[in-house]
């Protein structure tokens, strides 16, 4: 018992407090300058925007995928179902290079899109693609079990009362799925915020344009600007933390409805 706590403290708490300590070494002014530098602000914005859009894409498609996998049968369903966990199991670096290769101008997909004037690799769009990949399992896997557990009779009740499929979905099924769906979206969002490996290859990493926050931290570290790196890391951690708390609070509000107990 005591050993577990000891191990955990060693491994987690102390390292984290280092960030605080190092950032503090800049003093308030230095901290502010590092954290609010235009390049840093651009990095936060890019990270937040891309993660948000990727989470939304996964919200919509993840729901459809979960729906189809649970309710319908088609050849290869089992294989696709197993495949959903691929982003979880595949190393991020591998994901990074393969996505970049696929979406670059000479890639399988990139070439076709270039023909219509759409560039993916080395643009913010590329970041979104990579983050969508990384977040894919989250929505699907959180919604699937809930969808599976929904009592068929409740659906039958709605149907027997005259509701069509869309009405049944919107008024009976969706409210049941909502908490899990939101959880999945939040998890995908959180994951995307911190993602590094799969993004740095496809992003192009142009400061102010396609430079995500984790990369900026990495660059500062390479320059031995440990304090600056810590400051930015801390600021980003705080922003992410605040966001997740807010989402969590909203979820709790939904869960407080007696009906969803």
């Amino acid at each position: 018992m005591g050993w577990t706590i000891f191990y955990l403290c060693l491994i987690i708490l102390i390292p984290l407090s280092m960030i605080l300590v190092k950032s503090a070494s800049l003093g308030w002014l230095g901290f502010w300058r590092a954290v609010a530098a235009p390049r840093a602000l651009a990095a936060y914005r890019i990270s937040l925007e891309a993660s948000f859009i990727a989470a939304l894409i996964n919200a919509v498609f993840g729901l459809i995928v979960a729906w189809v996998l649970v309710r319908y049968r088609f050849p290869g369903r089992r294989i696709f179902d197993g495949l959903v966990d691929l982003p979880f199991a595949l190393p991020t670096a591998v994901a990074g290079i393969v996505l970049t290769t696929m979406y670059s101008e000479h890639g399988w997909i990139g070439s076709r899109l270039a023909a219509v004037g759409i560039k993916v690799a080395y643009t913010p769009l590329g970041i979104v693609v990579a983050l969508t990949f990384i977040g894919l399992p989250f929505v699907v896997r959180t919604v699937q079990p809930v969808l599976q557990e929904i009592d068929v009779e409740v659906e039958e009740a709605a149907r027997s009362l005259g509701a069509g499929l869309w009405q049944t979905f919107r008024r009976v099924l969706l409210p049941e799925l909502l908490p899990a769906w939101l959880t999945g979206i939040t998890m995908a969002f959180a994951r995307a915020l911190g993602e590094y490996g799969s993004v740095v290859f496809i992003a192009g990493n142009m400061p102010m344009r396609t430079e995500i926050t984790p990369l900026l931290v990495m660059i500062k570290l390479d320059q031995f600007d440990y304090a600056g790196a810590s400051a930015i890391a801390l600021a980003f951690l705080l922003i992410s933390f605040a966001l997740l708390l807010a989402i969590n609070a909203m979820q709790r509000r939904l869960g407080a409805l007696p009906a969803l107990r």
Binding site: W3, P15, Y72, A89, L90, A93, W108, Y226
Partner: protein
């Protein structure tokens, strides 16, 4: 009083077949969207890895894999995982058991802490180690005095990997232990078993599938970890490059087929992980199939 004749309970399958008959006009477009999305985002990349790896021919592929730097990267990856996974297994079991079985002050904190490596960027995880053990770090001077290198050396890689992959086993085991319940353990203790015996012969076998799955997942992440080790390693070729780092180097050197060749090994590992997951899930279902379940309808 009721003279009901006893007829065996029959599980009428597909009793609700009717409901799941969403109209064709809804079903097929959705299936197409689903399959299209998954094929685009999952299947295609999988195929692309191997296509690119073999794009210069099989001979080149094998050469890339037997290159001495590649071999040392493979060795390092195996070493890292070989240490990180067992370490996390031991303490993951301990932590999960403490959380699932006991109530203590700070339990909430513990649970949140376990999730920390999961929720912060791997780059930040790696950075933290540099701050601790790097030349300018907290223990930097002490380490240099004793001629120990952690950051920019193998120990740092291993530590960073342990940190980042710690949650995978614990998070799998907590719900498993909660689901299994403590009655059997209590019975064992009442019968005179020691704490260790109980753990070894009762607790662990009960959650064996979750343990297996946690280990498989942890291993996949340990071997594939990139962000954290990228910060900690210093990219010293031949010395501190794990496979993911080596892939990055090859890629930046425009040696694409070679990069994909090494990547294909990790991809194979990922596929094996997915298959192992399916098997574990299937076994787990078999084990719990003794509970009479209402058979789920078979949608068409």
């Amino acid at each position: 009083m009721a003279g009901t004749a006893s007829i065996p309970l029959r599980n009428v399958p597909g009793a609700s077949l009717g409901v799941r008959r969403d109209p064709r006009s809804v079903r097929w477009p959705l299936i197409v969207i689903c399959v299209g999305f998954l094929a685009l985002f999952l299947l295609l990349p999988l195929v692309a890895v191997f296509a690119n790896a073999l794009s210069s021919g099989v001979a080149a592929y094998l050469r890339a894999l037997t290159d001495p730097e590649a071999l040392s990267a493979i060795r390092l990856t195996l070493l890292t995982a070989g240490i990180a996974v067992p370490a996390n297994l031991v303490f993951g079991v301990a932590a999960a058991w403490a959380i699932a079985r006991f109530d203590f002050t700070g339990k909430r904190l513990l649970i949140t802490l376990i999730d920390v490596p999961f929720s912060i960027s791997p780059v930040i995880s790696g950075m933290v180690f540099v701050l601790l053990f790097g030349a300018q770090g907290l223990f930097g001077k002490w380490l240099m005095a004793h001629n120990l290198r952690i950051v920019f050396a193998v120990p740092g890689l291993i530590l960073a990997t342990i940190f980042v992959t710690f949650p995978y086993i614990a998070r799998e085991l907590i719900p498993a232990l909660q689901a299994v319940g403590s009655e059997e353990e209590e019975a064992a203790l009442a019968l005179g078993a020691s704490g260790w015996k109980m753990l070894w012969r009762i607790t662990l076998p009960n959650i064996k599938w979750s343990i297996l799955y946690g280990v498989i997942l942890c291993n996949a992440r340990a071997m594939g970890e990139f962000g954290a080790v990228s910060v900690v390693s210093g990219h010293i070729r031949g010395l501190t490059n794990t496979m993911p780092l080596y892939i990055e180097i090859l890629y930046n050197d425009y040696q694409l087929p070679a990069a994909f060749a090494v990547a294909s090994l990790l991809t194979l590992l990922a596929v094996v992980t997915l298959i192992a997951k399916s098997i574990v899930e299937w076994k787990f279902e078999e084990d719990t199939a003794s509970v009479i379940a209402v058979s789920k309808p078979d949608p068409s």
